[in-house]
Homo-oligomer: 360 residues x 2
């Protein structure tokens, strides 16, 4: 691949189906790049649980440096049952990336894809189109690897900072502005917190409200996290952009994925001021790894988010056009009958890649 | 009401629809007690947001003492928009009760009631019958009112203790044993944690596994909280008893309520070694308060849990029989067409009480 506005893409396939879904995605990016004249150079980097087992390092410093030097990072999935760090926690270089590159905005769209069954009986479920923004560098995860453990008790510290909350809120309002323009409807940002019980969340709410004033055209509100879990079942079609704390976002984004076909259809982007990682929301799926049946849709949609982000960062309009075309091709393929194993069909990883590539 | 095995019941109606649903529930308990010869004396106690506005006290010490002295506590709902403590957090004497009386087991059944619409399209959703057990005295809520707030950041501390985790786990396994016997199917307890990232949850898991060994007839497992949020959408009918940390339980129990008709159908019990509080999972619903349309079903089902708990504590078999009859009457009333406003019907608070009382 070569072209005018060239970008360097670091690919971390990782473990299990991570390698399969990234391969399928690169196979679709190839014709897409050709058609739109994108100059994408790909560098594949080792990291993950198997790499840890072989070398004692889950995320070699050389991989980290190369990823950081790239224009964007595409990640498959990492981790494996039975391969863990000495303290028993999971091998998760994706968490290291979030922290080390300051990727505070974990963008997790929850959108009903044409043809893909939704979980709720209410017909309005086909209109679900919201974005969770999981803060991804602090909150409860601030405590990752730092928890206190004694014989009798264990503690973790949840931390919310003004600086990160301001960035998160600005990110959310800007995204709402873009979505409002694209969709021709008013934008709305709803902070999900637990300010009725915790001072840290009252603090977060105060900072959020301060930022909201700078975006008078976007409606701004708050929702308690428990009420949001309920409303994501009762009326998810009513929400737009939902920023929240790290642990809350982890939970609610999986709930959201469940509404629209599961993890196989749920892309994500971890975005910071200077870097971004794009990856499917799913894990390495040991039960189906190596069988060629993993659903690569989440990774394809993550790649569309990546192209869009690259365009916004100045790589050129061709990247935005390619993003739009890729998402439309995914929608068309499923709308016209493509059915992966996770939704009861027989189309494997390569078949999805072919079906999407055919529509480009 | 008077009879052989008499019990003293403290009723804290609280605010908003709290007063309406407790009134309806007492109206059903009256004939139920007569029929089964239960000797229930009721003492109604003031507490809540309006009491705070009038007196400066949300939960008078006299109310607390009387509640503690009673055999069981029935609570409506408390809190009101615009009436808050000085630090901005909610007036929530129910939280004080959990902490001061050591009510570590927040039992929140999620069960599809005949006739009440379920949220999921999958027909198996009618088989949903699980129980979340929200630890209710520590976890993140350990930090309630104690959070650190500076100009630039705020922190809360999540605490898990061995002692409480052991009690929680034993409670969960015992409940699973009872349910297995009642339902004639194997019992299963699944701890919901985030042990892949946090030491405190790895600690919790270790303690839980230790307790599990004492219950060889009950299957025991673990699930990450994010995966559980997904699976409560994809296959909630597969789960039985789900103990979890306080904040996780708050979120997942609202999710669960959303699956089976909403908060109006979701009872709860906060149970400790010596005391217990029974209350609907919903709040004070300012938007519909005073209109006579609040759904009292959650409170009726909470009262059934209370009668059952009183029986287990030695009040006599008549209490267990009354519990069974009350739950069956609720099921029959909805199964035969009762429809409250929250599920699109026209039956008000008093109509539900009448319909249920008629079936006793
Ligand atoms: C694998 C796990 C550590 C990770 C997380 O909790 O962040 C995952 O659940 C996610 O949502 O990216
Ligand atoms: C009202 C609120 C403080 C309370 C809680 O968070 O515990 C409620 O959500 C509940 O679930 O009982």
């Amino acid at each position: 691949m070569a072209g005018a506005n060239s970008v360097r893409l670091a690919v971390l396939p990782g473990d299990g189906i991570g390698t399969e879904v990234t391969e399928a995605t690169l196979a679709v990016l190839e014709p897409l790049a050709q058609r739109h004249g994108l100059g994408i150079t790909v560098e594949t980097l080792p990291a993950g649980a198997f790499h840890y087992r072989e070398t004692g390092e889950a995320f070699p410093e050389s991989s980290f440096r190369a990823a950081r030097a790239a224009d964007a990072i595409l990640l498959g999935a990492m981790g494996w049952p039975g391969i863990r760090y000495a303290d028993g926690t999971e091998i998760a270089p994706q968490l290291d990336l979030r922290f080390r590159l300051g990727l505070y905005a974990g963008v997790r769209p929850v959108r009903a894809i044409p043809g893909v069954p939704v979980a709720l009986a209410d017909p309005r479920a086909r209109d679900i189109d919201l974005v969770l923004i999981r803060e991804s560098t602090e909150g409860l995860f601030h405590s990752r690897g730092k928890g206190l453990v004694t014989e009798e008790l264990a503690e973790e510290t949840l931390r919310i900072t003004r600086a990160t909350t301001e960035k998160l809120a600005r990110f959310a309002f800007r995204l709402a502005e873009r979505r409002a323009a694209q969709r021709g409807r008013p934008g709305r940002v709803t902070l999900v917190d637990k300010a009725n019980v915790f001072r840290a969340f009252a603090f977060m709410r105060g900072v959020f409200d301060g930022v909201a004033k700078a975006f008078p055209d976007i409606a701004s509100g708050h929702h308690y996290v428990d009420a949001m879990a309920l409303d994501l079942i009762r009326r998810p079609w009513d929400f737009d952009v939902l920023p929240t704390e790290n642990m809350f976002g982890d939970i609610l984004s999986d709930l959201g994925a469940g509404l629209v076909g599961g993890m196989g259809f749920s892309p994500s982007a971890d975005i910071g001021d200077a870097h971004a990682v794009f990856q499917p929301a799913h894990g390495t799926a040991p039960d189906i790894a190596g069988k060629g049946i993993a659903n690569p849709t989440a990774t394809l949609l993550s790649a569309a988010m990546m192209l869009d982000w690259l365009a916004a960062r100045g790589a050129g309009q061709a990247y935005a056009d390619a993003a739009t075309e890729l998402e439309a091709a995914v929608d068309a393929a499923f709308g016209e009958g493509l059915r992966t194993a996770d939704i009861g069909g027989r189309d494997g990883t390569a078949a999805v890649a072919r079906a999407v590539a055919d529509r480009i």
